[in-house]
């Protein structure tokens, strides 16, 4: 279908209101014509406005037709008599499904339009203000009565005021501000009415710039004051307002480089940040937003590749902008994120299609998406404030409700109370996912003592670090200079992009075994079986039947112990032995394209 404009607000629009598509009139007519054969109960909608509805009715009709399988019938009210139309509907016994009410300036006083030449002089304007105030009161009363029996979508005046020559065009007159204040107060009152939804001027302005809204020719010829584009935008958003869509229920968020800046496992609880002084304020804005969602009853869960105790400690920081009691559950561990997401869904007892997952890593997003195709996955755009704004707007659309009810606010407490039963979900098998990501592992055995990039990774990695040893550069060089020492650097890339050097391992040949003194791996590479590939490469290159790993438990290297256990090697501080045969028996399938870097 041809469109004249479109914009995207997220990975998935989810509903028409967020997609912001402006149809051409011919396309809207085709949609309406195509729905003429529909049968069944009609969706009766009244379009109440004081002007000839013309294309506005067509666009509203098309929007509604596109989002329902029922036949839609639009009935228009009387010309120049908005209040009369509203009162007539209130008095009707037979309820229509919904009423779209479009107020324009001339509905507040005819002299604010151009078809009635009642004067724009100072004395007249004072009377216009008085009239307009009385008109908003009458409209408010009628709309409140109308909303008691049916859904009302209300559009406040959208057109520019006529160029009344009180001040120059770049100076706002008191009259204009008084009118704006009056309409604003009217709108605020209406927004508090249950069953009445007010169209968002800001969203409308994106689809229909103020300067392109008014069509004087059309107004004079037909009494329809909207440009085609403006009619399309208003019709589209009125249709979105009327949709009974289901907002998303839960947001699952990553922590590192998402809810806060920095890798918790690397820099510790006190050093992750979300403030201006650390240039990490974007994370604070996100936190504040998520906090507001939580207080509005949206379920907030965490899935993070992290140490659980560290996470727990950090979530208790007093400067966190998200109440920790509103986060449930927190899934911190080292397995695939999809497994954590599965446990969150179980705890919430909601379907994947009601959930949005936010993470800074495209790879993690893809892994979760592969396991749960119905989850909306959104990337946290670290370092891109503009994209962050777009993300927040998308999330507002996805979670927004017409009204927040008391039940919404107690949902998390209720879930916690029911959480005594433990989830028995097993970790999702990610073979299918891993086999599709075109992973390439490049191994480099060049022993170059001058290469400080490997040392840098060793000295900053805590989580997958077999013993937490740190090296001075001189010690590092000396170690590698020994003829029996080896250095393995591993790089990784897949279809989502390169991760660069993600693992470094050093060792020595000692008798009939290979002793691993240093082994670190970036947490970015977790759950990709790169650690398994490292072991396999060592066994493949060296004809030893076992490796001895200089393991030493630290506060943060739980992932190493988990891995060693998984391959049948008991993590012991005295030296952990990995046997070739046992490793091969337990090693899960790997899907890496392995290449060794050649050195001339």
């Amino acid at each position: 279908m041809a469109t004249i404009d479109s914009e995207r607000t997220g990975e998935e629009s989810g509903f028409a209101g967020s997609a912001g598509i402006i149809w051409a009139l011919v396309d809207a007519l085709r949609i309406v014509n195509g729905a003429r054969e529909r049968t069944g109960r009609e969706l009766d909608v009244v379009l109440a406005c004081g002007f000839t509805p013309l294309h506005l009715a067509t666009f509203l009709n098309a929007t509604l037709q596109a989002t329902t399988s029922r036949p839609v019938r639009i009935t228009a009210g009387g010309y120049n008599d908005l209040l009369g139309t509203l009162r007539k509907i209130v008095g009707e016994r037979e309820n229509t499904a919904a009423t779209a009410v479009v107020v324009e300036w001339q509905d507040l006083d005819l002299r604010l339009g151009v078809r009635h030449l009642g004067g724009w002089g100072p004395a007249v304007l004072a009377d216009v203000l008085r009239n307009a105030e009385a008109a908003t009161q009458r409209l408010a009363t009628a709309l409140e009565a109308l909303a008691e029996t049916r859904l009302v979508a209300l559009c406040l005046p959208t057109l520019p005021l006529p160029p009344i020559p009180q001040t120059a065009g770049w100076q706002t007159s008191g009259f204009e501000l008084e009118l704006a204040h009056l309409v604003s107060a009217f709108g605020a009152r209406m927004s508090r009415v249950n069953g009445l939804r007010v169209l968002h001027e800001g969203r409308l302005a994106r689809l229909s710039p103020m300067s392109e809204r008014f069509d004087l020719k059309s107004e004079l010829l037909t009494g329809f004051p909207y440009s085609r584009r403006h009619a399309a935008a208003v019709g589209h958003l009125l249709g979105a307002l009327m949709q009974e869509r289901a907002p998303k229920k839960g947001l699952i968020t990553d922590l590192d480089d998402t809810l806060w800046n920095g890798l918790l496992g690397e820099i510790g609880s006190g050093a992750v940040s979300w403030d201006l002084s650390h240039h990490s304020h974007e994370h604070g804005v996100y936190q504040q937003f998520v906090g507001a969602l939580a207080e509005a009853g949206v379920l907030i869960g965490v899935v993070s590749k992290n140490d659980g105790l560290l996470v727990e400690k950090t979530l208790q920081r007093s400067d966190l902008l998200l109440r920790p009691d509103l986060i449930y559950p927190v899934e911190a561990g080292w397995g695939p994120k999809s497994a954590g997401v599965a446990r969150v869904l179980e705890a919430w007892n909601v379907a994947p299609d009601s959930v949005v997952f936010v993470d800074d890593s495209p790879l993690e997003l893809a892994e979760v998406k592969a396991a749960f195709p119905d989850i909306v996955c959104q990337r946290f755009p670290k370092g891109d404030p503009k994209a962050l704004w777009t993300l927040l707007e998308y999330l507002r659309d996805a979670f927004g409700k017409p009204m927040i009810l008391d039940d919404d606010k107690i949902r998390v407490a209720s879930l916690r109370a029911n959480a005594a039963r433990k989830s028995d979900l097993v970790a999702a098998d990610s073979d299918e996912f891993l086999s599709t990501i075109e992973a390439r592992v490049t191994v480099d055995f060049k022993n170059d003592p001058k290469d400080t990039r490997a040392l840098e990774l060793v000295n900053k990695t805590n989580q997958f670090n077999i013993n937490g040893h740190r090296y001075l550069e001189s010690d590092w060089r000396n170690y590698l200079a020994h003829p029996n020492s080896l250095l393995l650097r591993v790089s990784y890339k897949d279809k989502f992009g390169p991760l660069g050097t993600i693992a470094v391992l050093t060792g020595r040949r000692v008798g009939t075994t290979l002793r691993i003194d240093t082994w670190v791996m970036s947490c970015r590479a977790f759950s990709r079986r790169v650690e398994h590939q490292c072991i396999r490469q060592l066994f493949s290159r060296f004809d030893f039947e076992s490796l001895t790993i200089d393991f030493c438990q630290t506060e943060r290297n739980g992932p190493v112990a988990e891995f060693l256990n998984s391959i049948g090697a008991k993590p012991e501080n005295a030296g952990t032995v990995v046997y070739r045969e046992e490793f091969e028996r337990r090693c899960p399938p790997m899907f890496h394209d392995v290449r060794e870097l050649a050195h001339g």
């Binding site: 051409a24 009139l25 011919v26 007519l29 085709r30 014509n33 003429r36 000839t52 013309l54 294309h55 067509t58 020719k217 059309s218 004079l220 010829l221 037909t222 329809f224 085609r228």
Partner: protein
């Protein structure tokens, strides 16, 4: 001319979905009951949109048949071609 006619037929089909092509070619407010003032305004807007033209106010009351639209649109096209040639 043919492409003007075929594009115009699509405009008429959108506004008067009950008309077949033969009746569209002969369409006037007298031969098409659905051609009221609202349909006329809708038709003008669709034509403006599809042909990227603006119908002047003084032409509105003259464009009251399929042929009238064809002639006016052809004139617009020729006028544009002459302007481009200069």
């Amino acid at each position: 001319m043919d492409d003007v006619r075929s594009a115009l037929v699509r405009c008429f089909e959108a506004v008067f979905p009950d008309l077949d092509v033969e009746r569209i070619n002969e369409a006037t407010p007298r031969t098409v009951a659905a051609w009221d003032s609202i349909a006329h305004t809708t038709l003008l807007t669709v034509v403006e949109e599809q042909f990227a033209v603006e119908v002047p106010i003084d032409q509105v009351e003259h464009l009251v048949s399929f042929d009238a639209f064809v002639q006016w649109l052809s004139l617009q096209r020729n006028s544009n071609h002459r302007s481009e040639a200069r």
